[in-house]
Symmetry: C2
């Protein structure tokens, strides 16, 4: 198993990021690594990060301009190109699990808002009240009107059968408009997986990632231009930069190559590569 996780771009040195986040990131990595399939691996990793209040996904999500939390998540299975996603959900404990349920239990790819919540309830997924998701740190960011958008989480994996998968989950960013949907739940933007090329999960200014179709662009550059993963990932991210956006992405290709480029000051990231070697970094 090759697995890569991110805990979001946008982190700055002045934020004094540190050990607690890295420890959770390692837990997420280990949780994913312990799985057999790439699909189970990305779910397990993202769930750990959603459950932690230190990242901007699930518990600890950013507040929108109304002081409410609306979360987005998606997953894609590179073997079948099946995908699932939820957007603007407020009560689902693990949006990535709901995304997988959309993929596996419906004919649809994306469910938004109240319809997604109702579906999650029917599927007996864990729901929580608003208090569960709320953290003082994110509330302070809203009060101070901070441009707080770091902490989106994601994972990509390649399993022993050669299958790729990707998942992304986020609370968006502080002060976003109610109903705003970013790139994280959008297949081809924040998330992409295709066994013919690579698996990608993005983080950053989501609007620029959508306008550059980042996830699909990395894959298209590999398939059509025969670019190696690192070059394709860097080129896709350069398009984001050209649109005035910053952020980063994690990617793994079908040979197990890993790329983790970013153009922000830092990006929480960790990987276990083909040789079983673990790496963790912020800057």
């Amino acid at each position: 198993m090759v697995i890569v996780v991110h805990g979001g771009a946008g982190v700055r040195r002045v934020d004094k990021p540190g050990d607690p986040q890295l420890a959770v990131l390692e837990q997420a990595l280990e949780a994913g690594y312990a799985q057999k399939s790439a699909l189970d691996a990305v779910i397990a990793a993202v769930m750990v990060l959603e459950d932690s209040p230190l990242f901007n996904a699930g518990r600890g999500s950013c507040f929108n301009a109304d002081g409410e939390i609306e979360m987005d998540a998606s997953i894609m299975d590179g073997a079948t190109l099946r995908a699932g996603a939820v957007a603007a959900v407020t009560r689902i404990r693990n949006p990535v699990v709901a995304a997988r349920a959309v993929m596996e239990k419906t004919r649809h790819v994306l469910l938004a808002g109240a319809g997604a919540e109702r579906f999650a309830q029917v599927q007996r997924l864990k729901l929580e009240d608003a208090e569960y998701f709320r953290t003082e740190a994110r509330l302070a960011a809203l009060r101070k009107n901070l441009k707080d958008h770091h902490g989106t989480v994601g994972a990509v994996a390649l399993d022993a059968d050669g299958n790729l998968a990707a998942a992304t989950s986020t609370g968006g960013y502080t002060g976003k408009m109610p109903g705003r949907v970013g790139d994280s739940p959008l297949i081809g933007a924040g998330t992409w997986a295709d066994n013919r090329s690579c698996a990608v999960s993005g983080t950053g200014i989501g609007e620029a990632f959508i306008r550059a179709a980042v996830g699909h662009d990395v894959a298209a550059r590999m398939r059509y231009l025969k670019q190696p993963l690192a070059r394709a990932a860097a080129a896709a991210l350069a398009q984001v930069k050209a649109l005035g956006g910053d952020g980063g992405l994690i990617a793994v290709d079908r040979r197990g190559n890993v790329a983790m480029p970013f153009n922000s000051e830092g990006m929480y990231r960790a990987a276990i590569d083909r040789a079983g070697k673990k790496r963790t970094a912020i800057f």
Copy 2:
């Protein structure tokens, strides 16, 4: 001005389609052709189709499983790669106009549900009650549990300045789950425009269009594989077919070439080409 409009794939010979739809399609084409910019052209064309009860967008949209209408729309400006979209909106008379407002008046690309409605209200866009959108034909489709998904509308255009634009609008399909969002409001899936390559608007089984990232794939094949528009469009649509989906798309490239492939029985479509020649067809 080169302009192409579609009124949806999925139409069958047994549906006895005919003159009324074709007449509205021509009105849409003329409304777009009368504009100076590609962006204004696709808006004008799609508005005509949204206002007509004969197409599945705006008035005349399909009902979801709850017997409600939830509409999706998007627009993309090929000159700047700016984009805007709304999803699962219930009261906005012209969702494509709301999509443009998201693009021009917010930092966001996609607004969903109640947040999008509130934004439309603040922007003083025309809202309507449920009765306005409701048609007997779509209600009958819901009652008979028909697999009714035809009638999505869209337009692509190339203006005299060499700018491309694309817009798509839909009510989804009859019996869809509440909250389901298809490819129409998703940039890179149902809609794409980039002056470096082409403008695309799709129609069909939206889930397959998302999983094949159809809009961006047509553009990527042109830019990276140097495929001509017709070949790129056919290849992207073949991916939809490979995923078990059917449908079609309209596209125009920066040289004014037009493609209108579909793998369904029919697709309402009309175009005015570089020579000013008009074509209209269903099968």
